[in-house]
């Protein structure tokens, strides 16, 4: 048996470890090196898994079968709606919101009344949940030390009260150590993440021990359980409870965002929005892992004769205890303790912030006490109020545990709290997406929902414990049958939670929508509605300065900041604000709308938006803006946004047009340059033969006694130069016609093989004269193509005469081939001439670009043959190119597409 001293030692050591982690986290945060990364954030979300999960799920599974899983499916689905969560985070950051009460109150015009109501609902609603943790810790102590009994405890003090006291002390040390009330609690978040790991490891260790140590694996556990007819039904979803199933998924989905501690961890403690991307799957994975062994534990506990008569809520401890695994019992105890302390710490910190900012501060602001201590630093007072609130909340939890705790299983108590915080849903989500939702509507909805919740769930839980009479549950209020608390208006067939959820949300949503539609928001509300709903559009920009008008004095406002934030922090923030506005000294800040907004936001972070607004209203002489004015300003603002968007898109269009024009201009210049080049090249090409013709003609003219032989030679040159001139002019004309698209084409069916043959025959003398061999390979049965026969001949003749020009006489070889290649005919003229470099392979198709070295050799052609040939081939839809390498000959290839086969 474990000794009390040893358990106490382990507990103290464990708490010491957590405290060390928290101090480390805080120190790192102060040093600006946050230890909160995506994984820590995701794990800290698992503060959702409390004693309820650790002990209660097994108990729930023994009676409700698979329905315990709904509590984890809801959060999985809700977290996947990342857009909603990111919007909440964005709003909270923009408005420096520190709690869910603050969030709802800020949306509806920073209403102190609404903040107070939300706080009251949260405290009353969550107290049972805190009682659940106390009950679980007390019960596990009872298991560990069965002889002492709950009532005896240490030094005659009730052990549950002792647990509550220790937890209160621990929470105070954890959450309100900093004098600075505005900071996030990074150390606490880190400690919570550690606790999450501990409870998962502990639970899975017990699960593995039971499944594989006591039994032979999952299949064995289930086989044993399903052998008992009473248990077989536990493992199948029960369609008869479909309504309850859906209600619990909805309830838990809402709870993951609306429980004060979940809001604290997910929204307030969020350091970086991108951490959500990890949390969105890591947290559900955590939930899945911690639930894998729940059913095996439940089945195993129910079938184990040694546990007969034990409370199923304690199977996690009693199963290893019954099998003598004491180390495991201790681990499970520490895991359960982790689950309880984590929940209590975060929940009471969140609630104490709300109580301090939204219940105590408004009272304080009205009291004369504050007025008398005109210049005192109040940041210490804030911390003191929070500490008192923590103690009071835990005390309330203890009282509830004494009053009603014994009558309920763990899960039953927790669900009462879930149903309470679900009442925040219409006002909160409505406020985020519906501008028309008003303060009056939110108040009406919350009140209606809360009253129905209290009547159908909270009071019956008291009645069940015998604390108050249960007549209203059995027979209805005043004996009216329709008002039976858990069968309101005769609605039955649900369990009490679904029944409450259905009626309370109906009343809540109905009242919220109805009252919102018939009431008008005031100016502040309308402004806040805009900032909440359109938070993504407003972004980080400062709010419209015109939404505040009045007089303020710098010393009064800085005085306020120093009182509530503490002088050091206040000066730091003032200096940062002054820097942002480009001022060296904060004392020279103008007390304008922007400064008032800054001061109010800073105060809001410390004491909540409603109290901050009330305080600021006290030191500034603010003119009331009428609702119409505010709406005008907001409308104007959105119009300006629309105009600027329009302007932006016009500017983009203009830029695009400018770019197009610039490109077109560039092309025109290029064409112009090409035309100039062309003209200068043509005139140059024309001048060369003209010069020689003129020179020879002058010689003939000047010297009539020239010998006949000489004369004949000169005239021969003149004739050939004239021919070249004519050819050149013809080709230039041809080229111009082709390029302008005015060439005449007579398209018909052409047998390419025949065209090639004819061209070869026509040029044969040329080849023979230069002693160049000409061979051919023309495939048989070539289909005919659609082309202009003469033009095609022109191309082949051009390629052949080029080839014969560049090969050397005697050893030159030219080979022509025509083959069918897929959907084209491919004509290739290969020679064994000097070949072309890669650069020349493209240059030869440019106009007036001669093959060979034009500087040293006499030009052998006009330089227009290949460009013209390419124009012709491309006109028929084919291609002309050259494949060559220096020294390896050149192969000119062109293709002509075959006509599409007739359909």
């Amino acid at each position: 048996m474990l000794s009390g001293g040893f358990v106490a030692l382990v507990t103290v050591a464990y708490f010491g470890l957590l405290f060390g982690v928290a101090r480390w986290g805080d120190a790192r945060a102060d040093a600006g090196r946050s230890i909160i990364n995506a994984n820590v954030y995701a794990l800290s979300l698992a503060v959702y898994c409390t004693s309820w999960t650790f002990f209660g799920s097994v108990g729930r599974a023994t009676s409700g079968g698979l329905s315990f899983l709904t509590i984890y499916l809801g959060p999985t689905l809700m977290l996947l709606c990342v857009g909603v969560v990111i919007k909440m985070i964005r709003i909270a950051k923009a408005q420096r919101i520190t709690s869910i009460a603050d969030f709802i109150a800020a949306r509806y015009g920073k209403s102190p009344l609404l903040a107070g109501l939300v706080t009251v609902i949260a405290v009353i609603g969550v107290v049972p949940y805190i009682a659940l943790q106390l009950k679980a810790v007390a019960a596990s102590l009872d298991i560990l030390f069965p002889d002492s009994g709950t009532a005896a405890g240490l030094l005659g003090v009730d052990s549950t009260l002792l647990v509550a006291a220790v937890l209160a002390l621990f929470t105070i040390l954890f959450g309100t150590r900093h004098l600075d009330a505005t900071e996030r609690h990074e150390g606490m978040v880190a400690a919570i993440a550690v606790e999450s790991v501990v409870k998962l490891v502990a639970f899975c260790a017990v699960g593995l021990f039971v499944t594989y140590g006591i039994h032979n694996g999952f299949a064995d556990v289930f086989a044993r359980a399903t052998a008992q007819p009473t248990l077989a039904g536990l493992f199948a979803p029960d369609a008869a409870r479909a309504g309850n199933w859906a209600a619990l998924i909805l309830l838990s989905g809402l709870a993951i965002l609306l429980l004060p501690r979940q809001f604290q961890i997910i929204v307030v403690e969020n350091v970086d929005e991108s951490h959500l991307k990890r949390a969105v799957w890591l947290f559900p994975l955590y939930l899945l892992l911690i639930n894998i062994f729940v059913l095996p534990l439940a089945a195993s506990g129910l079938t184990d004769p040694r546990l007969a008569g034990h409370n199923p809520d304690t199977f996690v401890l009693t199963l290893p205890l019954a099998h003598g695994a004491e180390a495991l019992v201790l681990l499970a105890f520490v895991g359960g303790l982790s689950a309880a302390t984590g929940m209590v710490i975060v929940e009471t910190i969140a609630l104490s912030t709300m109580v301090c900012n939204d219940l105590a501060m408004p009272a304080l602001l009205r009291s004369t006490w504050l007025a008398r201590r005109q210049n005192a630093d109040l940041s210490g007072t804030l911390i003191a109020i929070r500490r008192v609130a923590i103690v009071l909340i835990l005390l309330l939890g203890y009282i509830y545990f004494r009053a009603a705790g014994e009558a309920y299983a763990l899960v039953g108590i927790g669900l009462i709290s879930f149903a309470a915080v679900a009442q925040f849903a219409p006002a909160l989500f409505g406020g985020m997406y519906w501008k028309q939702g008003t303060r009056a509507g939110a108040l009406a909805g919350l009140l209606a929902g809360f009253v129905v919740w209290a009547y159908t769930l909270l009071l019956p839980s008291f009645a069940r414990s015998g604390w108050i009479g249960n007549g209203f549950v059995e027979h209805g209020l005043f004996g009216i049958e329709w008002l039976r608390a858990q069968a309101l208006f005769g609605l039955s067939g649900f369990d009490e939670i679904s029944h409450c959820l259905w009626w309370s949300l109906f009343a809540n949503l109905g009242a919220y929508v109805l009252v919102s539609l018939i009431s008008t928001p005031d100016a502040v509300e309308a402004g806040q509605a805009e900032r909440f709903v359109d938070v993504f559009r407003h972004g980080e920009r400062a709010p419209d300065a015109r939404l505040w008008r009045g007089d303020a004095s710098l010393p009064e406002i800085t005085g306020l900041l120093e009182r509530f934030l503490g002088p050091a922090r206040a000066r730091q923030q003032l200096a940062a604000h002054a820097r942002m506005r480009g001022l060296a000294d904060w004392r020279s800040l103008p007390p304008d709308a922007g400064f008032v907004h800054f001061a109010e936001t800073e105060l809001a972070a410390a004491i909540g938006s409603a109290s901050a607004r009330a305080l600021m209203a006290g030191v500034t002489r603010e003119e009331d803006l009428r609702l119409e004015e505010v709406l005008d300003i907001l409308d104007e603002a959105s119009q300006v946004r629309a105009y600027s968007r329009e302007l932006e898109s016009k500017q983009r269009a203009l830029e695009a047009a400018t770019n197009e024009l610039r490109a077109a201009n560039e092309r025109l210049r290029e064409v112009d340059r090409m035309k100039d080049d062309f003209i200068s090249t043509v005139t140059h090409e024309l001048r060369t033969p003209l010069t020689s013709i003129r020179a020879l003609s002058e010689m003939l003219y000047d010297d009539p006694r020239l010998e006949l032989e000489q004369r004949t030679r000169f005239l021969g040159v003149i004739v050939s130069e004239t021919e070249r001139l004519t050819r050149l002019i013809n080709q230039v004309l041809d080229m111009a016609k082709l390029e302008s698209g005015r060439a005449e084409w007579t398209t018909g069916e052409v047998d390419v093989g025949q065209v090639v043959n004819e061209a070869m025959v026509a040029l044969e003398p040329l080849f023979r004269e230069k002693k160049v061999s000409l061979t051919h390979a023309i495939a048989a049965d070539l289909p005919s193509v659609l082309a202009d026969r003469d033009r095609l001949t022109q191309v082949v003749v051009n390629l052949l005469s080029n080839a014969v020009k560049f090969v050397s006489g005697g050893s030159g070889q030219v080979r022509v081939s025509v083959v069918r290649d897929d959907a084209v005919l491919r004509v290739a003229v290969a020679d064994n001439g000097p070949g072309l470099t890669a650069e020349e392979c493209t240059q030869v198709f440019e106009k007036f670009r001669q093959g060979g070295n034009t500087m040293t050799d006499k030009p052998q052609g006009t330089g227009l043959g290949l460009p013209i040939s390419r124009q012709i081939v491309e006109y028929f839809g084919g291609k002309l190119w050259v494949e060559s390498a220096p020294g390896a000959g050149a192969t000119f290839v062109f293709t002509v597409p075959l006509p599409a086969p007739d359909a």
């Binding site: 499916l73 689905l77 996947l80 990342v82 991307k277 799957w281 059913l295």
Partner: protein
Amino acid sequence: MKRSGPTRQRLTAVALAALPLLTFPLLGLPQGEWLSFPAGLVYLFGVWGGAIALAAWIAERPGR
């Protein structure tokens, strides 16, 4: 105005697809035993785990 990115929309789509799969009447479909385990249990954990895996894949893909 920022529009919600494709990742956010895809994650929401996973939630919308998982919701009917994890509630009645579809939840009533698995009956008897699968792989010698209770069918309902295997089905619930399977769909749940599948949704988590899908979400992890969508959220952790690089370049977004």
